[in-house]
C-alpha cells in the first residue's frame, strides 16, 4: 500500500460541517421565503382506476389559489391510476392551508378497476390484471451458466431452500422531495434536493422539451437520498405550476405524500434455490428462482437480485429464472440499488440454510466457495481490480470472536434468560465501481488555496473525498483545499449520479486528473521562478520543492502569488480498466471494480417478547483504500442504522383490501433510534486492498451493510434454532417461530 500524506489520514474534518451544524447549509425549501407559492398534489383514493372526469373550477375560484393543473398539463400527473396515492392534480396557493383546501374542492370521477396489492395474489394463475402491463401481471427472464445438470450430477447432496418475502418500505429520508422553482422569461431556475443535478436537468429537458441551457438547477443541501432523488417528478410539477401562476412555487412533500406518491420504495423479493454440493461443502451447481414485486411502475429488476451470488461464489454451473410481478402498490425504486438488498438478503439466508443442512460452520462454508482473486468473472470474463471478500469475512468474524461464540443453533442461553445468537453474511456488490464519464474542475487561487466545484449535491461524504484526492496530488494540506460552489448546473462540471457508490472513485478520478492538470501549470510557474524545469519538481505538505533537493522549496502561497491569473484545472474520469498489472493481467485490461463486504452480528433474543437486541456488530468493507476516513466510518454507521431498521422493523404496510398505505408517517413506520442500535457495539473495519483501477486505490463504499439483512436473520436462527426468513423480523414473527403466537 502507498504511504499517502493526506489520503486516509484520520482527523480530517468534513468541509461543510459548520454550515450543517449551524443550519446554514441551504436546502431547496429555504429559498425565497415569503415570496413563493406552496404546491400540494391531489392523490388518488383508488389503487387501480381511470379518471373519467375532473372538475377544478371550484378549486381555481378559491381565494389564494394561483394555479391548478391536471394530467392534461403535466406528465407527472396521471389519468390512469395504478397505485393508491398516485398524483392526479396539483395546486399552487398562497399557503399550505389554502392549497390543501383547494384539493378538497377538486371533483374527480373514477372508473374503478381491480386492484391487487398482494404480490402473491397478483402472481396466481388467472389473477385479474393490475393494469400495469398489457395483458399480464408477470414478466420473466433467465440466465444460464455452464451445464446445470452436469453440475448437479457432480454433487453428493442436493438441497432446495427458500427465503422471503423481504420487506416493502419507503426510504423515509429526513428531507422529503423538495423543489423551489421560478421562471425568468423562458429560463427556469430550480433549487432542489438531489442525487444527480445534471441528470435531473436532463430529465426535465427530455420530459418537457425545455432547452437544457435554459434550465438552471442548483442543489446544495440534500437531506439524504439512498436512491430516491435521481428523478425530477416533483421539480416538474413545481415548474409547471410556477409557469402557470407566474410566481415562484415550492413543492415540499409532506411525509404522507413522500410515502404514498411517486417516490421509490424497496420492493419485496423471494427466492427458491436448489443447491448441489459435495460432501466437503463445495457447491457444484445451483438452480435459482427469484420473484420480485414489480409494484406499479413496471420496472423489471428481479434479474438484478442474483448479482451478488454470481459475483461472490465460485459456482461453474447455474441457472437463474426471474419473475417480476406487477401489483398496484407504490413505485419500486432504488434503495441502495433496486435489487441488491433483497437479493443479497435472500441468497445469504439460503447459504446459511445449506451450511446448516451440511452441518458446517456458515463462515467456513462461505469461504470454501468464494471466487478466487485469480479468476475471471464468469459472465463478463474480466478480472477483478481488487478482491477483499475473504478478508472481509475473516475480519468481521474475528472482530466478534466468531470461533468462540458461534454455536449450534438454539443451544446458548445468556444469564438473563435471553437466547444468544451470532450470524454472518457477506458478498461482492454490484456497486462501488467506475461509472459513467464525468468531469471535474477546480481553481488554484492566488492566495495558495484550491477550490473544487463538484457537480453533485451534498448528500454524502464524497465531496470531502475529492478534497483528499486533490490535496494528495497537489501536495497541499487538506485544510487548504476548499469546496467552492457545488451542485450548480451553470457553474460546475457534470458530476454524474451520486448513486451506486461511484462518486469517490469516478468523480474522484476526474479530480485526480484535474489536480494533475492544475499542478502542471503551477509547476511551470514555480520552475520558472526556481530556475528549474517542471519535471524536476515535486509537491507535498504545502510545499513545491526540487525532487533531488527537497530543501530547495517554495510554499504554495509563495508560488500562487506569482500566478498571473488563477489556474483552472480540469479532468475527466477514468475508464474501467486496470491502471497497474494485476497477476498476469496487464495495464489497460477491462476489469470488474466491485465493492465487497461482510457483516457479523451478535444478538440476544427475549423468548418472552420476541424482542431482538443487537449486542455487537462488525462491518468489514473492502474499500480499496479509505480516502476520507471519518467519512468511511460514518458511512458504515449510517448503513448500520438503516439496515438494522430494515431488518427489525421497517415496513410500509399495505391494506390488501384497497391498496392503501396504512403507515405513511413517522409514528408507525419510524426510524430506529440510538437506543435500538447500540452505537458503542458497532465496529467498522476498512479492508484496504489497493484497488488497481480507482484513484489512490479506492473503491466505493456508499452501499455497505446490505449483507447485514441476512446476517441478522442468520443470527436469529443461531439463537432460536428456527428460521425466520421474511423481513422485517418483528416480535410477532419471533414469537410465532417459538410457538408462542
Amino acid at each position: 500500500m502507498a504511504d499517502y500524506a493526506v489520503v486516509g489520514k484520520a482527523g480530517n474534518k468534513e468541509k461543510t460541517i459548520v454550515q450543517k451544524l449551524t443550519g446554514r447549509l441551504d436546502y431547496a425549501d429555504d429559498r425565497l421565503p415569503g415570496q413563493k407559492l406552496v404546491a400540494r398534489t391531489l392523490l388518488s383514493r383508488y389503487a387501480n382506476a381511470e379518471v373519467t372526469a375532473i372538475n377544478t373550477s371550484a378549486a381555481e375560484a378559491l381565494p389564494g389559489v394561483k394555479a391548478v393543473i391536471t394530467y392534461d398539463e403535466c406528465p407527472m400527473l396521471y389519468k390512469s391510476i395504478r397505485r393508491w396515492g398516485q398524483e392526479i392534480a396539483a395546486v399552487a396557493a398562497v399557503d399550505n392551508e389554502t392549497a390543501t383546501r383547494a384539493l378538497e374542492l377538486i371533483q374527480v370521477t373514477y372508473q374503478e378497476g381491480n386492484q391487487i396489492s398482494d404480490v402473491e395474489e397478483a402472481m396466481k394463475p388467472g389473477a385479474p390484471l393490475t393494469g400495469v402491463w398489457e395483458g399480464t401481471n408477470i414478466r420473466t427472464s433467465e440466465l444460464l451458466r455452464g451445464d446445470v445438470e452436469a453440475g448437479f450430477a457432480q454433487a453428493d447432496q442436493e438441497f432446495t431452500e427458500t427465503a422471503g418475502w423481504t420487506n416493502f418500505w419507503q426510504h423515509k429520508e429526513m428531507e422529503p422531495w423538495s423543489a423551489t422553482t421560478y421562471w425568468v422569461g423562458d429560463d427556469l431556475y430550480v433549487w432542489t434536493t438531489s442525487q444527480n443535478p445534471f441528470g435531473q436537468r436532463n430529465t426535465i429537458k427530455n420530459t418537457m422539451g425545455w432547452p437544457m441551457h435554459k434550465i438552471h438547477l442548483i442543489s446544495h443541501g440534500s437531506g439524504s437520498g439512498h436512491g430516491n432523488k435521481h428523478g425530477a417528478n416533483w421539480i416538474i410539477i413545481a415548474a409547471v405550476l410556477a409557469k402557470k401562476a407566474g410566481m415562484p412555487v415550492s413543492y415540499h412533500l409532506t411525509r404522507f405524500e413522500q410515502c404514498c406518491s411517486s417516490t421509490a420504495h424497496q420492493n419485496k423479493g423471494k427466492l427458491e434455490m436448489r443447491v448441489g454440493v459435495k460432501n466437503d461443502g463445495t457447491i457444484t451447481a445451483v438452480e435459482a428462482t427469484y420473484w420480485a414485486d414489480g409494484c406499479s411502475g413496471g420496472a423489471t429488476t428481479a434479474s438484478g437480485m442474483d448479482f451478488g451470488f454470481r459475483y461472490t461464489y465460485n459456482v461453474p454451473h447455474a441457472k437463474w429464472t426471474f419473475y417480476d410481478i406487477a401489483t398496484n402498490t407504490p413505485l419500486r425504486g432504488a434503495f441502495r440499488c433496486v435489487a441488491d438488498p433483497p437479493g443479497d438478503a435472500l441468497y445469504n439466508l439460503v447459504m446459511d440454510k445449506v451450511a446448516d443442512k451440511l452441518g458446517m460452520d456458515p463462515l467456513e462454508f462461505r469461504i470454501k466457495n468464494l471466487v478466487a482473486p485469480d479468476m475471471l468473472q464468469f459472465e463478463s470474463k474480466m478480472p477483478f481490480s481488487s478482491m477483499g471478500i475473504r478478508q472481509c469475512l475473516e475480519q468481521a468474524a474475528a472482530a466478534l470472536d466468531w470461533d468462540t461464540k458461534w454455536h449450534q443453533p438454539g443451544n446458548r442461553t445468556l444469564s438473563d434468560g435471553r437466547l444468544h445468537g451470532i450470524g454472518i453474511a457477506g458478498h461482492i456488490d454490484s456497486h462501488g465501481q467506475m461509472s459513467s464519464p464525468c468531469g471535474a474542475i477546480l481553481n488554484l487561487t492566488k492566495d495558495g488555496k484550491c477550490l473544487i466545484a463538484p457537480g453533485q449535491s451534498h448528500n454524502a461524504g464524497s465531496i470531502n473525498a475529492h478534497c483528499h484526492h486533490v490535496a494528495e496530488v497537489l501536495g497541499m494540506k487538506y485544510e487548504d483545499v476548499h469546496v467552492g460552489d457545488w451542485g450548480h448546473t451553470d457553474v460546475t462540471s457534470e458530476g454524474g449520479s451520486e448513486g451506486g457508490s461511484t462518486r469517490c472513485i469516478t468523480l474522484g478520478s476526474a479530480y485526480v486528473e484535474a489536480a494533475l492538470d492544475a499542478r502542471a501549470e503551477a509547476f511551470a510557474v514555480a520552475a520558472g521562478w526556481m530556475g528549474l524545469t517542471p519535471d524536476k519538481l515535486s509537491a507535498g505538505d504545502g510545499l513545491i520543492f526540487e525532487t533531488a533537493n527537497p530543501t530547495n522549496s517554495k510554499t504554495w502561497v509563495e508560488v500562487a502569488g506569482r500566478f498571473s491569473y488563477p489556474i483552472i484545472g480540469k479532468g475527466y474520469s477514468w475508464p474501467k480498466k486496470l491502471r497497474r498489472q494485476v497477476l498476469n493481467w496487464p495495464v489497460g485490461t477491462d476489469c470488474e471494480v466491485r465493492g465487497q463486504m461482510a457483516q457479523a452480528v451478535e444478538i440476544a433474543v427475549d423468548p418472552d417478547t420476541g424482542q431482538i437486541e443487537v449486542l455487537n456488530m462488525a462491518s468489514a468493507i473492502d474499500c480499496g483504500q479509505a480516502i476520507y476516513r471519518s467519512g468511511f466510518n460514518k458511512g458504515c454507521f449510517g448503513g448500520h442504522e438503516i439496515i438494522m431498521g430494515e431488518t427489525l422493523m421497517y415496513e410500509q404496510v399495505i391494506d390488501y383490501g384497497n391498496g392503501a398505505s396504512m403507515n405513511p408517517n413517522f409514528w408507525q413506520n419510524a426510524h430506529v433510534t440510538a437506543m435500538d442500535i447500540h452505537p458503542e457495539g458497532f465496529n467498522a473495519i476498512a479492508v484496504e486492498t489497493d484497488d488497481a483501477c480507482g484513484p489512490h486505490g479506492c473503491k466505493g463504499v456508499g452501499e455497505p451493510e446490505v449483507s447485514a439483512l441476512a446476517c441478522m436473520a442468520n443470527a436469529v436462527y443461531n439463537a432460536t434454532g428456527v428460521w425466520i426468513d421474511s423481513l422485517p423480523i418483528t416480535p410477532d414473527k419471533v414469537l410465532q417461530a417459538l410457538g408462542k403466537a
Binding site: E97, D608, G657, W667, Q668, L735, A741
Partner: protein
C-alpha cells in the same frame, strides 16, 4: 385543514361555557389533537379550539393526606421527575416517563394523555380515507378484517377493535385513581369508553362541556410496590404494543394492561393468582398465564396475547 378559531380560556367555567357550543374541542399540550387536525382524520373536525393551558393553577403535583393530587395540566415530564410521584406512586412516574419523547413529555399533559384518541391506523389514515365505525355509524371496522396487528385481543367494543394507547391510564386504574371533572368524580376504571357514534371519536365518558380538572390517586397499601412496563417496537418514542401497571403488596394485587382493548383492562385472574403470594419467577409466571383469560385473537394480533403475559410477569417481578 380548515380555519379554526382559538379561544384562550381563563377559568374552568369559561372553558366549559365555550365547549358547550357545538363544534368546539379542548386543547392542552396538543400533541394528539394537532396531529389529528393536520391530518384531517375526522370529517367533523372542530371549528373552535378551547385552550385550557391559559387556566391558572391547574398544573400542580402535591401530596394531600394520603392521596396524590395532580392538576390536569401537569406535564408528563413534571410527573416523571416528581419526587412525590416517584415515591409512593412509582408506576405512574414510570408510565409518564415512558410516553413519547422528552419534547412530547414537556408539552403533553396528564389530562391529555388519558383523553387521547386511539392510534388505530384505519381511524388515523389521513383525509378520512377509511370512514370507519368511529366516524360513520354505517361504516365498518376495517381492522376487524384488515391488518389488525396492533388491535384488541379482548374482542370488539361496540364493533370496534381499536385500543387505548395511553401509558398513564393503566397506572391510574391500577392505583384506583379518581378522575375529577368540572361536573363529577369518576373512578379511573369507569373513565374510559370506546364511543363509536358519529362525531364521537373520544375514548372517554366525558361530555361535550366536561373537562378533567384533577386526578386524585390514593396511596397504595403500606408495603405495596408498584411498577409500569411497556413493550414497543422501539425503545424510545413509540406508542405501546402492550403495557402493564401493577400495584402489589399488603395482601392485594392490582394489575392493569393497556393497548390490548378499547380501554385499560384489569387482569383479575392474574391479580387473584399473585395476591398474597411471594413474588418470584414461578409465581409471576403462573399469574401471567392467567392474563390470557378471555383473550381472543382476531388475525394478526395473536402475538399480543403472549406479550400481555410477558408484560404482566415483568410488572409483577418489578414489584418484588
Amino acid at each position: 385543514m380548515k380555519d379554526i378559531k382559538h379561544f384562550n380560556a381563563t377559568s374552568i367555567n369559561d372553558a366549559a361555557a365555550k365547549l358547550a357550543e357545538a363544534g368546539s374541542a379542548p386543547i392542552a399540550g396538543g400533541t394528539d389533537l394537532v396531529t389529528i387536525l393536520r391530518a384531517m382524520v375526522n370529517p367533523n373536525s372542530p371549528d373552535t379550539i378551547v385552550n385550557l393551558k391559559t387556566i391558572p393553577d391547574m398544573a400542580y403535583i402535591r401530596e394531600e393526606g394520603d392521596a396524590l393530587k395532580i392538576g390536569a395540566l401537569a406535564t408528563l415530564s413534571a410527573i416523571a421527575a416528581s419526587s412525590v410521584v416517584r415515591g409512593k406512586w412509582a408506576a405512574l412516574a414510570q408510565a409518564a416517563h415512558k410516553v413519547g419523547s422528552p419534547q412530547l413529555r414537556n408539552a403533553g399533559t396528564i389530562g391529555g394523555n388519558i383523553c387521547q384518541e386511539t392510534r388505530c391506523w384505519y381511524y388515523r389514515t389521513e383525509h378520512n380515507y377509511f370512514a370507519c365505525l368511529k366516524k360513520n355509524q354505517q361504516g365498518l371496522c376495517y381492522a376487524l378484517t384488515g391488518d389488525n396487528r396492533y388491535h384488541s385481543i379482548f374482542g370488539a367494543t361496540n364493533g370496534c377493535v381499536c385500543v387505548n394507547p395511553s401509558d398513564t391510564a393503566p397506572a391510574l386504574v391500577a392505583f384506583g385513581a379518581t378522575i375529577k371533572t368540572n361536573k363529577r368524580d369518576i373512578a379511573a376504571a369507569d373513565f374510559f369508553d370506546v364511543k363509536v357514534a358519529p362525531n364521537k371519536s373520544a375514548m372517554t365518558v366525558l361530555g361535550q362541556d366536561e373537562i378533567v380538572t384533577e386526578i386524585s390517586v390514593p396511596a397504595p397499601a403500606s408495603g405495596a410496590k408498584s411498577a409500569f412496563v411497556k413493550f414497543a417496537l422501539r425503545r424510545a418514542i413509540d406508542f405501546p404494543i402492550v403495557n402493564c401497571a401493577a400495584v402489589i403488596g399488603g395482601g392485594s394485587a392490582s394489575i392493569v394492561l393497556n393497548a390490548v382493548a378499547g380501554k385499560p383492562r384489569k387482569v383479575t385472574a392474574a391479580e387473584q393468582s399473585i395476591a398474597g403470594k411471594t413474588i418470584n419467577e414461578a409465581n409471576a409466571a403462573a399469574a401471567a398465564e392467567q392474563a390470557a383469560t378471555g383473550t381472543l385473537s382476531i388475525g394478526k394480533n395473536k402475538y399480543m396475547i403472549q406479550l400481555a403475559k410477558a408484560m404482566v410477569k415483568k410488572a409483577i417481578l418489578a414489584c418484588a
